[in-house]
């Protein structure tokens, strides 16, 4: 499920959640701080009012004095924004201020009395809310000596109208939360837009891949990378496409060459037989054409074998990796090729250093590789010459097998193309026994075995092919020659 979610959503989702969380936390903190400061201000005002009432209070005959005798108390008593109520020790209301409207007085008085039922700490602040009004109140206990000398224990409830201040506070709270939500929306949209923009090339890249035709894999993508990562991705993909195209062209070339090599002799045999049977001929004519046909069939059998070798090697896997005794293997290969060398009037000479020459790999494949190289050396030698094989261990520890002929050789351009499937050096093209696969197969086999191939060739002088195997076995001491 998670794997199917788009990258844009995966990036923007957590970012937006984090942004909202940050804004909510920030908003709450800000609101809390503002509220605290505002309430503190309001409470300071309320306490000041309460203190003022307490100070202005003068008692005569157990009741507060008013009128001209106590002008300040009178002003507070008439202030519509201030309400106070004095309750004696028995809970009886001794005095209620006259400033606010009668309905408000009644409401506040009722709420104060309800509040008075609950135990309240001295100077405890509380809020009263009724009919759209917001009043904040405080209770104070006072002890007051009467003119008669007795000590009065009263409770003074002072309330101040804070409707405007509290409404302002609630408005600021709404404003902060509204602003936070708006900011969250704006930043979320901006985040989504940035992510969409930065992943747009990836979407174009993915769409371009969908249009690649497997039969003709051309990748048309002309979008400039907008980041280092995109650059790396596009360059790497382009490089991979290039390598795939090269492999495809090589495969195409291989098929074209294989078709040519297989279809041409079939066409030759068909044409020869049709011409042969088109009219009566002398026996010698039949024999001559039959000899040609037999040779062609043999060539085709050989080509089929080599193509099977090629497909086996193209598979690229060494099925069995076992120790190979190179001396025994080379002797076996030479025994097999001696009749062929003799038929070409070529003599095989060999020289082995003393000691063990063991490499790891597939005996069957290494046999094919050495056979192909020896076959080439015989094929491209001038008649009457020698082909020499040397097996020795170099001072750097490498085992070296060199196969040297004194034949047609190759120029630099031909050496460069050596190893391409179906490549035949032009001078040797007249040699109809060659398919141009032997060296290519040998090269592939030896490379898959970790061996290196060195070619040293001079036109009309000959070619020396050296195979180098890396080994940790110490060098031998004496030579064995034939």
């Amino acid at each position: 499920m998670w794997n199917r979610v788009s990258l844009t959503l995966k990036i923007t989702g957590p970012l937006i959640i984090m942004e909202i969380m940050g804004l909510v936390f920030g908003g709450l903190t800000l609101v809390s701080k503002i509220e605290k400061a505002r309430l503190k201000e309001i409470d300071t005002l309320l306490i000041g009012q309460a203190d003022l009432i307490e100070e202005s209070l003068k008692v005569t005959h157990g009741l507060p004095e008013k009128g001209a005798k106590n002008e300040l108390f009178g002003e507070l008593d008439r202030d519509p924004k201030v309400f106070f109520q004095i309750v004696d020790g028995t809970g009886t209301i001794i005095y209620t201020s006259k400033g606010p409207k009668a309905t408000i007085q009644t409401q506040i008085s009722q709420l104060i009395m309800e509040r008075a039922q609950k135990p309240l700490a001295p100077e405890e602040l509380f809020v009263m809310s009724f009919g759209g009004e917001l009043w904040r109140s405080i209770k104070e206990n006072i002890e007051y000596p009467d003119r008669t000398g007795s000590l009065l224990k009263w409770q003074v409830y002072t309330a101040v109208d804070q409707t405007a201040s509290m409404s302002e506070l609630y408005f600021i709270r709404k404003l902060i939360f509204g602003g936070a939500i708006l900011l969250a929306i704006v930043t979320s949209l901006a985040t989504a837009a940035i992510v969409l923009l930065t992943t747009s090339n990836l979407r174009l890249f993915a769409q371009s891949l969908a249009h690649i035709n497997p039969d003709n894999p051309v990748w048309n993508f002309n979008v400039a990378a907008q980041s280092a990562e995109e650059g790396l991705l596009f360059t790497s993909f382009g490089k991979m496409m290039g390598e795939m195209e090269t492999a495809r062209q090589n495969q195409k070339l291989f098929i074209a060459n294989a078709s040519h090599e297989l279809k041409t002799p079939v066409a030759g045999m068909m044409a020869a037989l049709e011409v042969l049977l088109s009219r009566e001929r002398a026996v010698a004519d039949y024999q001559a054409i039959c000899r040609d046909l037999l040779k062609t069939v043999k060539d085709m059998r050989r080509l089929t074998g080599v193509l099977l070798d090629t497909s086996l090697i193209e598979g690229g896997k060494i099925q069995q990796c076992l120790p190979i005794d190179l001396k025994t293997l080379i002797e076996t290969v030479m025994d097999r090729w001696k009749p062929n060398a003799k038929a070409h009037n070529i003599s095989l000479r060999w020289q082995f250093e003393k000691g063990q020459f063991t490499v790891m790999g597939s005996l069957e494949l290494v046999d094919v590789a050495i056979s192909n190289l020896l076959d080439n050396a015989i094929k491209y030698s001038y008649q009457g010459n020698e082909v020499e094989l040397h097996l020795r261990r170099q001072t750097d520890g490498f085992i070296k097998l060199s196969i040297k002929d004194y034949g047609v050789g190759m120029n630099a351009a031909e050496q460069e193309k050596l190893g391409d499937i179906f490549f035949r050096a032009d001078v040797s093209r007249s040699n109809k026994d060659s398919f141009g696969l032997g060296f290519a197969n040998a090269k592939k086999i030896l490379h898959s075995h970790g061996a290196r191939l060195l070619v040293n060739s001079t036109p009309k002088s000959g070619t020396e092919i050296s195979i180098l195997w890396e080994t940790r076995v110490p060098p031998p001491t004496a030579d064995k020659t034939s």
């Binding site: 078709s259 041409t264 079939v266 068909m270 044409a271 020869a272 040609d292 040779k295 093209r429």
Partner: protein, 220 residues
Amino acid sequence: MKVLLVEDNQLLGRSVKLGLEELGWIVDLASDGEEGLYLAQNSTYDIFLIDRMLPKLTGIEVIGKMREGGINGAAIIITALGTTSDKISGLEIADDYIVKPFEMGELVARMKAVYRRSIGKSNALIECGNLGINLNEQSVSVNGEKLDLTAKEFDLLESLATRQNHVCSRAELSGLLYSFNGEPESNSLDVLLGRLRKKLQGATVEIVTVRSKGFMLRVE
């Protein structure tokens, strides 16, 4: 008809050459692109039969260089490459394209068709005055009566008849009548022309000599 066959497979080249020669055609065989181009540039041919994948120069390159050099004879590519794209690329430069392996009958039929197209004929019959030349049967008649010609005389008449209103030089005619290595004796063309003129006496055509230029067939 004279054919240049360029094919590197020895058996196929020799067999096709023999098959075509037994039809009475003159065939030169080259085994690589360079040799084929050399023959094309140094002799005269009615039709070119060229393998596509050749050593040294590919068949396409040979035809390209021939065309660049003004050699515009009919060319057929023979090849193992039989995909549509291969055929399209081949037909962009050649007149026909035959995929290996092929049957000799089909090859010959296509060569004749391409040759007819190259000389602007829709059928195998060339008529000059009261003379009728059947390219398929390789026969000639005057007023419907068959004329007895040797193979070389027929080739000479065909060469002149397919190039009416064109003066054929002595070298061009020799190139068309003899294989590259079969150099004729110095007066053999004159002897051949003399014999053919004699046999065409009842026809309303005559072989005229254009001084210092060559020969042409003229309808009287």
